[in-house]
Symmetry: C2
Subunit: 408 residues, 2 copies
C-alpha cells in the first residue's frame, strides 16, 4: 500500500476547530486507500509559552530539562489530533518521539537524528491505523528526551518518510507553496509548481518558511517534499530532483528572489593582514554561539585590512561586545556597526553556467538607486547586503527585472 507522510505546523493545529479540520484532511487520504503517518507540531505558540514558563523559575534553564518540558507541546497536539480522528471514526494512535523510534544524539535543543527504528510505526500501520507522530523530539541512547531545534517537526517528517520509504512527504503549513518572491511584497509573484532541492535550500536559508535541515535531508534521501496550505486545497510546490538534462536550454535560469531583514553589520578596522587573523576573530564568536552570515575582507592596503560580517540584529549587542574584547589582541583600531541592513538574494540553479546574472542584478539595483553594501555569491545564488528600508523595492525590482511574475 502506498504510504505518505504529512506534517502539520503549529498554526495548522492551533485550536480544536483547526485540529478537526486536519483530522478530516487526514481522513480523506486514508479513504483514498493510502497509508498515512502524520507529524504535528505543538499548538500555536505553545513552545514559546513553555520557554517563557521555564524562565519564570530559572534565569538559565538546564537544556536537558528544557527539552523534556518542550517535548510536552507536541504530545498535547498529537493526542488531541488522534482523538479527533477517532471521533470521526478512523482508527489512529499517537506515538511520541521515542515510541516512534527517533534516536538522536544528546545535543539538547538542537539534537540531530542518527537513526529511526521504524518497527512500532510499521506495526501500527499494518493494523490499518493512522499513525500520528510527535514532531520535534527524539530520545538518546540513555533514554533522555531531546528536541531537534528550529524546523524540528519538518525534520521529523522528512526523516520518517525516508525511513519508511514513503512516496512523498507533504508539509502543510500556513503558506500555500513556494513563490518566486514573498507575495506580500510582490503581488504578482508566481507560485512554483516544482523546485530543485538545492534552489529550495538557498530560498529556505533566506526567508522561505522551511528550515534548510529538512530540505537537506530530503535531498540526501531522495524524498520528494510537497509544500502546501493546510487551510485550502490549492496546489502547492513539489521540492524534488528536477531533471535538468532534458531542459537545460529552455529552463528559466532564475527561480526566485529571497530576502532577509533584521541584519546588522560589524566592521573591525585596520587589522594586520596576516594568516590566522580571520580565525582569531571568528572562532571566539562561534564559541559564543553567534551565527555569522556574510563575511567580506577588503583587499589589503599596506598589509592593513578591514573585516566586515553580518549577524542577526538580535545578536548585534553580544557580537559587538565580543569583537571589542578581541580588538587589542587582534591588533585592530576600532569596531563599528550598522544595524539598518537587510539582504536580497537571486537564486537559480541555471546561473552557474551562464555569465551575466550578477551584473544584471547589480544594474537592476543601481537603476533603482539602491546602494550595495556587501556582495557574496554561491554556485546558485547572488546575495547583496543593502539598507533594510530599500529591501521591498529591491525584491520588486529584481522580480520584475528577471521576469519572474505571472503573465497577465
Amino acid at each position: 500500500m502506498e504510504l505518505v507522510v504529512h506534517k502539520y505546523g503549529g498554526s495548522s493545529v492551533a485550536d480544536a476547530q483547526k485540529i478537526e479540520n486536519v483530522a478530516r484532511r487526514i481522513g480523506k487520504v486514508k479513504e483514498s486507500g493510502q497509508s498515512i503517518v502524520a507529524v504535528a507540531s505543538a499548538m500555536g505558540d505553545t513552545t514559546d509559552e513553555l520557554i517563557d514558563l521555564a524562565h519564570t523559575v530559572a534565569a538559565d534553564p538546564d537544556p536537558r530539562e528544557l527539552d523534556l518540558l518542550l517535548s510536552t507541546g507536541e504530545l498535547v497536539s498529537c493526542t488531541l489530533l488522534t482523538m479527533a480522528l477517532r471521533n470521526l471514526g478512523y482508527d489512529a494512535i499517537t506515538l511520541s518521539g521515542f515510541q516512534a523510534g527517533i534516536r538522536t544524539d544528546d545535543m539538547y535543543g538542537k539534537a540531530r537524528i542518527f537513526s529511526i527504528e521504524p518497527g512500532r510505526v510499521q506495526s501500527e500501520l499494518s493494523e490499518g491505523k493512522v499513525v500520528i507522530v510527535a514532531g520535534f523530539q527524539g530520545i538518546t541512547e540513555d533514554l533522555d528526551i531531546t528536541t531537534l531545534g528550529r524546523g524540528g517537526s519538518d525534520t521529523t517528517a522528512v526523516a520518517l518518510a525516508a525511513a519508511l520509504n514513503a512516496e512523498r512527504c507533504d508539509i502543510y503549513t500556513d503558506v500555500d507553496g513556494i513563490y518566486t518572491a514573498d507575495p506580500r511584497i510582490v503581488p504578482n509573484a508566481r507560485k512554483l509548481s516544482e523546485i530543485d532541492y538545492e534552489e529550495m535550500l538557498e530560498l529556505a536559508s533566506y526567508g522561505a518558511k522551511m528550515h534548510p535541515r529538512s530540505i537537506e535531508l530530503g535531498a540526501v534521501n531522495g524524498v520528494p517534499i510537497y509544500v502546501a496550505s493546510s487551510f485550502s486545497d490549492s496546489a502547492g510546490t513539489l521540492i524534488h530532483r528536477v531533471d535538468k538534462v532534458n531542459e537545460l536550454e529552455n529552463r528559466v535560469k532564475v527561480t526566485g528572489i529571497a530576502y532577509q531583514a533584521n541584519l546588522a553589520k560589524i566592521t573591525v578596522r585596520s587589522l594586520p593582514d596576516r594568516p590566522g587573523i580571520a580565525a582569531a576573530l571568528f572562532e571566539p564568536l562561534a564559541a559564543r554561539g553567534i551565527s555569522v552570515d556574510t563575511i567580506v575582507q577588503n583587499t589589503s592596503l599596506e598589509r592593513i585590512t578591514d573585516i566586515s560580517f553580518t549577524v542577526s540584529r538580535s545578536e548585534l549587542t553580544l557580537a559587538f561586545a565580543e569583537s571589542q574584547k578581541l580588538l587589542s589582541q587582534l591588533g585592530g583600531t576600532e569596531v563599528i556597526s550598522d544595524d539598518t541592513l537587510a539582504s536580497v538574494h537571486v537564486v537559480g540553479s541555471g546561473m552557474q553556467n551562464t555569465p551575466g546574472y550578477a551584473s544584471r542584478m547589480f544594474r537592476i539595483l543601481a537603476e533603482g538607486n539602491i546602494n550595495i553594501d556587501m556582495i557574496t555569491t554561491s554556485e546558485i545564488r547572488i546575495s547583496c547586503i543593502i539598507k533594510e528600508e530599500q529591501v521591498a523595492d529591491a525584491v520588486r525590482l529584481l522580480h520584475e527585472g528577471f521576469e519572474l511574475g505571472e503573465e497577465n
Copy 2:
C-alpha cells in the same frame, strides 16, 4: 546515606512562586545530608484542564491517548521544579515515569504499578543529584504511557519509597496532617501525631485527602508515610504500624470521625428473596463502572425483600436507569431513589474488642434528633447514612461525644 521520598501535590506547585518554595524545602533536606527523591503532581488544575481540552475534540476520548495527554502535566511541573532547584545551585534531574522505571499494566486511566526498576534513579542519586520523578504515570511492557488514576502521585511516591528502601515517604499537601474530624466542621478537632495504616485507610475512604491505594501500599511494604503541609513547618501526622501490644488498654479507642457528602440511595422494592438476586443486580452495575458503597438487604417477609444501596450522587442517573432496566428481569415492583444523603463514620482500631461503641454512636445521633437511614460496620468502623443537611451536626456531636477534641 539516608534516603527520603517527598511528594508534592498540585496545589503545592501551582505557580512559579510555589515551585520555588518547594525547591527551597527540598534544598534544605539535601543540605541536611540526606538523599532525596521528590515526586510532583501537575500544577494546580492542569489535569482537569487537559481533560476538558480532550473533550473539545472528542466526545469520548480514547483512554490510551488521554493518558499520554495527561502525562504531560507532571512533566511540566517536574521540569520546572528541577530548573528551580538548579537555579538555587542544587544538582537535580527530572525523570519521567518511564525513565524512573515505573512499569504498569495497561489499564489506561487506572493503571497499577507491577514493578519499579530503580536503576536510573539510584545511579542519579549516587551522583549526588536530587531526583524529581513525574508522579501519576508509568509505562507498559509495550512502551505505552499510562496514568495511575486518582491519588496516582501518592501511589508513585510510596511505591518508589518501597522500591528504594527509603526511610520514609513524606506527602506534602495543602492540609497539615490528619485530624480527628474535618477542622472546617469541628473547630477544636485535634491533629493526630500518628495513626495506624488500617485506621488511616478507613479515614481516607471517607473524606480524608489521601487516596486509599497509597496507604495500602505503605502498609504492605511497611513504608512510614508522613503527611504534612507544604506551606508551613508545623508537625504533621505519621501513618505507620502503631504498636498496639504496649498500649492496648490505655489507647483511645476512637481515632476520628469521617464523613462523605453527595450520596444517593437507590432502593429496589419487593424482590423475590432467592439465591443470586444480589449478584443479578450488582454485577451489571459493576460492569457499567458504577461504584456501589453501602448495601443493605431488609429481612425477608414472605420471601419478598427490598435491596438498598448508596452511590455517589453524580452516578445516580446512570445507576437508576440501569436498575430500572433490570427490574422486570429481577422480578421487583419498583425502583425508588433519594438524593439527599450523606454518610458519617466513627473509626478506631480499638473498637472491635470493646462492646458499646455502636450503641453509643446511635445514642449520640438520636439525642441530636438525627435519623439513621442505613447502618454498616467493619472491624474498625461504624457507618451511618443520614440526611446530608444534618451531616455537619452529626460530625460535631460525635466528635464531642467521643471526646476527641483538644483539651481547653
